[in-house]
Each structure stands twice: as C-alpha cells, then as structure tokens.
Symmetry: C2
Subunit: 345 residues, 2 copies
DNA sequence: AGCAGCACTGTAACCGGTCACAGGTCCTGT
DNA sequence: ACAGGACCTGTGACCGGTTACAGTGCTGCT
C-alpha cells in the first residue's frame, strides 16, 4: 500500500482561488476586500461566502508590495540595556503602544539598538522603507541615528521632545515642567524650605523640564535655588542612591527631596533611612512617573503621575497623521500629583 | 509661472536600476545579493559598486512574496496586563530574544493578546502565515489560542513546557524542578525543618515543577510534606503577600519560606516583618528567578537563578530549527542557587 | 433613436524581487 | 575535431495582491 507522500502543506488560498470559487474575477474579490469601489450587493455576498468557505486571508507581503505601505511601525529603544528592564515605564509605554497599534490593524516591530553595530543595522533597516513609521523612546539628542532617520525622511514620533529636532520630529510628552513645579509646590505647602532635587540626564527633555519645574516653584515662592541641592542622576535606581549620598553630604539640613523619577527616589529612600533620616518625618520625598514601583515602596511614594496611557495613544495617533503628510507637531499632556505616605498632606 | 509639482519622494532604486547602472541583467544583481550561485568576480565588483552608488536596499515585501518567508517572528504575550509590567522577567526575556533575532537578521513582531478580541485577531494573524514562527511566553495550557496555532501548523517555541502539548510544541525551560529542590535543600542544610512554599499557578509548568522540587527535597530528607505549608500564588507580588499571611495563619511555627518567584518573595517579606518575624533570623526566605528585584530587596534575597539569557538564545535557535522542519523538542537549561542575606550560608 | 452616464465587471499591467531554464564561452579529454 | 562539463549570464514566468482602463448593460433624457 504505497502511499503517495503528499506534502501536508496545503497551499493557502489566494485571491484567484476565491474568485474561481465565487464565479467572479479576482479584481472583484479585491474590490470586495477593500470595499472602496462599486460592487453589486450580490457579488459582495457571493465573494463573502467564498472567502468563508476557502478560509482565505490576504497575503500581507503581496499587499505591501502593491500598495507600498508596510502596515507596520517600529518601536525603537536606544537606551542602554540596564535601564530598559529597571524602568517599568518602558513596558507600560510598550503595552499602550501595542494596544493603540493593534486597534488600527498595524503591527508593532520592536527594535533595540544599544550597541554601535545594532544602531547601524537598525538605521539601515528603518531608512530602507521597511516600516511606515518609527516611534522613538526617550532619544538622546546627540544620537547620530536621529539625523540619519530625519535625512531619510522616515516619519517619526518621539516620546519626549527631542532637543534640537523640534521642527523635524513630532513628539508627545508629559507636561514635565508643570509636573515638577506641582511636586515642589506641594513640598513647599507642607512647610519644606530646604528642598533638594535629583535630576534626570540633562540631554533629555524630561531631565531638563522637570528641573525647570523645580526652580520655577522655588523662585515663585521666594526660595533661593542652591546649586548644592541639585544633583544629576540617570533615571536609574542606583544613580538615585548615589545622588542621595551626595546631597546629604552637601546639605545635611535638607528637609525634602524631589527625584525626577520614581526609580531614583526608590534608590534614595534606603540611603536616607540609613543616614538616620526618617521619611516623611525628617525628609519628605516626591518622585515622578507613578510607575508601579511608587505604591509598593516603603513608605509609599508621593509622585507625579506620568500619563503613559494617554501618551502612547497620542503617539500612535500623531504618527499616523505624520505618515499621511501632516507636518511635525508637539503635543503636551498634563500630569497630576498623587499624594502618598512619603509626603502626606 | 506654473511650476510642475514634482513630488519630492524620489523613488527608491530597485534591482533593475542597479542592473542598468552596473550594465548587467537584474538576475545577476539578484545572484550577487544572495550569493549562492556562480557569478564572476568582475560582475560582483561592478554590482557592488552600483549598489553603493545608488544606495540600493532590497524591498523586503517583494522578497517575502517571492520566497514565501517573511523574515519575522512573533513574540506573543498572553498574560493579563498587570503581570506584564510587574514581572521583570518579561522584559529580560524580550531583550534577549530581540538580540538573538537581530543576530539572525530576523525582525521581532510583538503581539500582546489579553482580551478575547485581541486573541481572535492575533490567532487569525498568526495562522495566516504572516510570520515564520511564534515565540510563546508562559502559556497556560487551556488557552484555545494554542490549539488553533497547532492546528494551523505554525512553528512554535514556548518558554516553559506547555502542559498537554509536549509533542507538538517545542519548548525551552529552566530546570525548575532541580532549582526548587536545590533551594529547599539549601534551607534544610541551614537547619530549617518547617519549610513552607508559595507556589506559582498550577496550570503552568514552572508552577508545577518548582513545587515538585520542593517536595522532592523534603522527602529526600525525610521531612513530611504538610498541605498547610503549601499555598498557591500567581507569580505576582500581591499574591505573595496574601499567601504569606495565609501561611502564618496555618502554621505560625514555620522557619523558612520558598517562594516560586522573586516577586512573590518580595510580597511576603514585609508581611513577615509586620508579623514580627525577622528575616533571616526567625524565617529564612528563598525566591526564584534572580530577577533584578532580588538583589535590591531588604534583606537581599537568596534565589534560584533563572538563566533567561540562555533561554532566549535557545528559544530562537530552536525555533529556526523547527521552521526548517525539525520535529518538536524540549530543552532544559540548568539553574543555579544564588545565596544572599535572606538565608545566609 | 441616440446618447450620456451610472453601476458594475473583467483584463492586463504593475509592484520588486526569486528562480528555472536556456543559452553562450572556454577549457579539457578522447 | 568535437563532445561535454564548468562557469557565467540573460530571459521570462511567477509570487499575490492593487488599480488604471476598457468595456457592458441598463436607465433616462432629449
């Protein structure tokens, strides 16, 4: 009983198979599929049935080839690796973007470009027109990747204003400055006067703006801005610990700390405790982001809520606009202060 | 002065443009590109130069259409949302997979299917042959998505054995059973005898196997397995806290806790402290995963290192094998115990 | 009656690659 | 001298869609 070895990979039905099954031409099937042209109700019905019967699904590559649109968006991370999985913001933003893209029937291509070699490959890939657009996460302004992408005229939307590229790259950002200001004003309202800050990197918009909000608040209330109370971090937990040590060193009197990220605040808390300062008794602490981290810290962290869900949605909306020819644009979404135990009201 | 509106979108060069520029046929250019057939060194040189001059890059959609391979892999998450960004494992695995795929010139398509609607869309997409294969993260065995994918004969590799699909779905997993056993044997060696455990979900392989390792160790040392010392969690921090309360309730005498994830251990620690138990003085605690979390907890957490970097690399290797027709296969990679302050040696 | 125009459908060209096949050289062996 | 192979190249068919264009049949108007 020699059985013919029929390969079990039954070919997927094509638009022609559906057409034959329905007794119409393949152009009609195509028209039913994207439904912008005139087709008789009868034809629509017949084709629909044939599609259901054959289990047809369109081949996206053929479609992309014909239309010149890929139907996919790159989500590009350029942060060094250790920050990626320490900071829950990335995953939250990623999740939001995935959702927003999925709603628009776009697929999400994730690219991580940390090493110089990866950056080159990524640049070539993105400039090569493989994707319809790029979502950029907290890019640093000096990055050569940026100039390449801009030059290749790839539609881009960044999360956070890109210093130096405001005209060419659309962006969506939280209102970091107001957020920082509201955090510090809250501390002032609680009676604090010797307020220190741990900033983010000063080549990122968030780092600059949150610091600006800090100085705004102090100046608005007639409190001098002391350089000894400003220390720079890199968003990460470890840098928060280092910064806290430095602050205690430079100004042992401080009665409040505004950290520009929850992670840095989380790094600062144990340092303060070990130095004998109780939180919020001796020192009040406010973070920024309202990441999952904030509520679970001990004490739970007062923080400025960074509305990542809104941001991810707006990024995708904006990117589709840019792809359709809209000129670059920056959007700001508001932040809100969330008060918890590290600086109770 | 009517200016002709010349669109500034200079078309990308095609293989035909390169051929004309080089003075050869387009087939020759194609041959140089994928270099498996005979081409004269002279032709190679000329084509290379023409490619450099024109700035040609291949159109991936045309290539996919002709070859039938998409050059992309889906990374599919099916966990409900809150676990995604609480558990650093996901991001670590994601990062590793991104790296491994990038090394093989494959692109990573991220899909998150939490809601029923997303699951349907995802199933259709993946079954439709849009990607060459799927990487599955900690799938639960009852998931209908699984049977659909298996039926559609999509190459799949899962992280963690998929209960019920061992024959059809390849998988890569840590040696959870040995890991659990080594954790508990370490506790026994430290003199603990009343050892409780907080398990993972019992419809996941990791949950089952780590628990099995726990009972293995107890039985091997003649310690009875008490049901009152086994409580189930869902991997998440909150469930660890709940479980710890329940354990203290059911067996106030306990002198050690083995949590099947670092996150659950992290949830348990403050509960133990609040109940007046010092760690490691009164109760020793061991976690599982060696996520970034473990080292930063107070006290730092002894844990079983889950080698996610190895796992991601193996998953991608295995998936490419499966795509090339290899029969499904399961791989186990070893774990190692990392001793820290929560159960010092 | 003749013709415009609407509603609909089919043919064929095209998107940009891959690859089977059919040559054409040139060299070697008999 | 010529068959046959190794090396190299070009032509043309195809992958599976989209879409410009050319109809066809019917209605309604002059």
């Amino acid at each position: 009983m020699s059985q013919s070895i029929v390969p079990n990979v039954r070919k997927r039905p094509t638009i022609r198979d559906v057409a034959r099954e329905a007794g119409v031409s393949y152009a009609t099937v195509s028209r039913v599929l994207n439904g912008r042209e005139w087709v008789s109700p009868e034809a629509v019905r017949v084709v629909r049935e044939a599609i259901a019967r054959t289990g047809y699904t369109a081949n996206p590559h053929a479609r992309s080839l014909a239309t010149g649109k890929s139907g996919s968006i790159a989500f590009l991370l350029t942060e060094p690796q250790h920050l990626l999985f320490e900071d829950p913001n990335f995953s939250v933003l990623l999740r939001g973007v995935a959702q927003a893209l999925s709603d628009r029937e776009l697929t999400l291509i994730l690219m991580i470009a940390s090493t110089p070699e990866e950056r080159n490959r990524t640049t070539a890939y993105l400039s090569g027109g493989h994707v319809d657009g790029v979502l950029l996460v907290s890019p640093h302004s000096g990055d050569p990747l940026l100039s390449h992408l801009v030059q290749a005229e790839v539609p881009i939307v960044a999360c956070g204003r890109v210093l130096g590229y405001e005209q060419q790259i659309s962006s969506v950002m939280a209102d970091d400055r107001s957020g920082g200001r509201s955090a510090v004003e809250h501390l002032i309202a609680m009676g604090c006067t010797k307020i220190a800050t741990i900033t983010g990197p000063q080549d990122t918009a968030g780092g600059v703006d949150r610091l600006q909000g800090y100085t705004d608040a102090l100046l608005a209330h007639g409190i001098p801005v002391e350089p000894a109370r400003i220390v720079h971090g890199d968003w990460g937990r470890a840098s928060g610990a280092t910064a806290a040590r430095q602050l205690l060193d430079q100004d042992p009197e401080l009665d409040a700390v505004f950290a520009a990220s929850d992670a840095m605040a989380a790094g600062a808390l144990p340092v303060l405790r070990e130095a004998g300062r109780s939180v919020p008794g001796d020192v009040r602490v406010v973070g920024f982001d309202d990441s999952g981290l904030a509520a679970t810290l001990d004490p739970s962290l007062t923080t400025v809520r960074h509305p990542l869900d809104r941001i991810s949605e707006e990024m995708v909306r904006l990117l589709t606009d840019v792809i359709n020819g809209r000129t670059p644009l920056s959007i700001t979404v508001p932040t809100t202060l969330v008060i918890r135990d590290s600086s109770p009201a």
